[in-house]
Symmetry: C2
Subunit: 345 residues, 2 copies
Amino acid sequence: MKGISIKDIAKQAGVSPTTVSFVLNGKGREKRISEQVSKKILKLAAKLKYKPNQLARGLRTGKTKTIGLIVEDIANHFFANVAKIVEEEADKFGYKVLYGSTEDNLNKARGLLEVLEYRQVDGYIITPTPNLDKEIEILKNSRKPMVLMDRYLPQIPTNYVMVNNFQGAYDAAEYLLDLGYRKIAYVTTTSEQIQMKERMSGFTAAMKAHGANFPRKMIKKIPFSITKEEAVGQIMEFMKGIPGLDAIFFATNYLGVFGIESIKNLGWKIGEDVALISFDDHDLFRLHTPGITCVSQPIHEIAQHLVQVLMNELNQHQHQINQVVLPATLVKRESCRKRAKAGVV
Amino acid sequence: MKGISIKDIAKQAGVSPTTVSFVLNGKGREKRISEQVSKKILKLAAKLKYKPNQLARGLRTGKTKTIGLIVEDIANHFFANVAKIVEEEADKFGYKVLYGSTEDNLNKARGLLEVLEYRQVDGYIITPTPNLDKEIEILKNSRKPMVLMDRYLPQIPTNYVMVNNFQGAYDAAEYLLDLGYRKIAYVTTTSEQIQMKERMSGFTAAMKAHGANFPRKMIKKIPFSITKEEAVGQIMEFMKGIPGLDAIFFATNYLGVFGIESIKNLGWKIGEDVALISFDDHDLFRLHTPGITCVSQPIHEIAQHLVQVLMNELNQHQHQINQVVLPATLVKRESCRKRAKAGVV
DNA sequence: GCGATCCGCTAAAACGATTTATTAGACATT
DNA sequence: AATGTCTAATAAATCGTTTTAGCGGATCGC
């Protein structure tokens, strides 16, 4: 059941393994192998369905043609879709993907990095967890090709591919204001992650630019660690405490989902009593009635750029830093609508 | 930036690489290496953070400690979650996972199998596409450890891990009848895949066992290839054509999602005008209002068994066939409720 | 006629582990 | 003393590639 090797081809062609290797690696010309011999080898290889042993090749060249993909949670809509495209794109370059989920846990991330190093992947696509700075720094210094996604580490200049969080949130705020909403609340996480900060900045900037009122008490931070029920409860309390609430923005999709539930629990009608908009799309937002307006990340492009950036580093030792920021798109659905008259409680 | 090798340890310990290899592989006793030397080597390995080169090891032993996971669509809720647990479980045995999505396309599946062979994975977890029989047969004959998931090939006895589709659908039908529903429709795919057939059998069996009427005209088959809009349209037509329709069962989750939309489009109320139940859980079902009752697959257990079966084959050359069928669970939500009075149009 | 150059190809080393066969010496047996 | 057994280790082959260095012969320049 053993595969056939370069030696088998060499024997059958009556040449040395070296020659076979040269030809099969497209170095026939360069190494001055005659057309006849080249052709014979190529034909033989095809006939025998020769498949180079990747382990032997990797051992010799130090390249495994494998990339490591570290996501927050492969079962999450956003990451699963990115993973899928990354796999497809990498495949085009002959690379395979080893993946793992961190659950946003530092130790899991460390474990994954260790395993990937152990497996000698050629490059990394990483969604960093909090406090992963040191490991990223080490990886960076080791000159291994690497690109971050979804968030970056402001202290460490690295490659990354991200959505424009500032612009996405800015557009959302502006859209709400355009529609005539005035009393707008903002729900985010307690996490200090950069992408959350940027969304907040973008939103705030838009409110300010339009002279809208956006005091601190319109902002609610929900801790990551609490249960869904607790979160929903907190959001309900928060909303009830704001008389005349017009519209509410959720800074990430799972909060938006909680928001839907909170509003329903209050007996309010989404899009009528209060407008709802969320960062990140979600199956539920698309299929919900009414549809939930959201700021959508260009998943396909993100994945393509991730692989592209990695391949650039991998192939051309081009060590200039590559930071890609892609526009977010406002997906308008029915949860926000033109507000005819000023809101009253 | 090179890793340290067995030779480095050997040099520093003043012994041969052979000795180091023996000790590090736990064969110290067996090979009569003295306690002193063993300890020295172990200490040194820990100190230098020695990580064996998997490529070299794989080349020599023929084992890559990698398994290939072929799913239908990694971005799908069910497969993404299985993939996640598979990865975690495999990790416990020191295995990593290479994955790929077939989109239920035969050629994609072939391509994936080829790549995985090329990468010499030690074992396979496969969601077979239609007509993949020949390739599975070949793989089986090659004695590579393999286990199928989600569906199996009736003509080829192989390992598999599945949910009990018959029982799941049976329970669903029985539940609807218990609640007092009588005019029950069934929506499935046109695909001839075994799991779909079994669901149909289970459902039919329950209806018959309870003496319920279940004529052919209560069954609708939706082709896989049409667009969402077309599917929704077909489902709407189908439902409108059944006077007095009580309840409707969808044989898989994406159909259930279409079902929700169809019912809404008709202006009916789920759980009030018509009961809805679907095979497979989905985020949307859980978060929808009203919640959608469904037949849920034990994802965690499925994944655990998949890895377990594969590890059995991998480690003990135990070549008896292992077929695991796990119970499906009926998750009761608000889309089906006690029916007070007989249904009237 | 002699060194330089080119042609077409190959021998052998290397990658880093595992594994088989072997060794040198201590000790025991007959 | 000759033989065998055991101990504690090692040398060398091996896995399948890639890659460096080189070889024998023909051709060229002068």
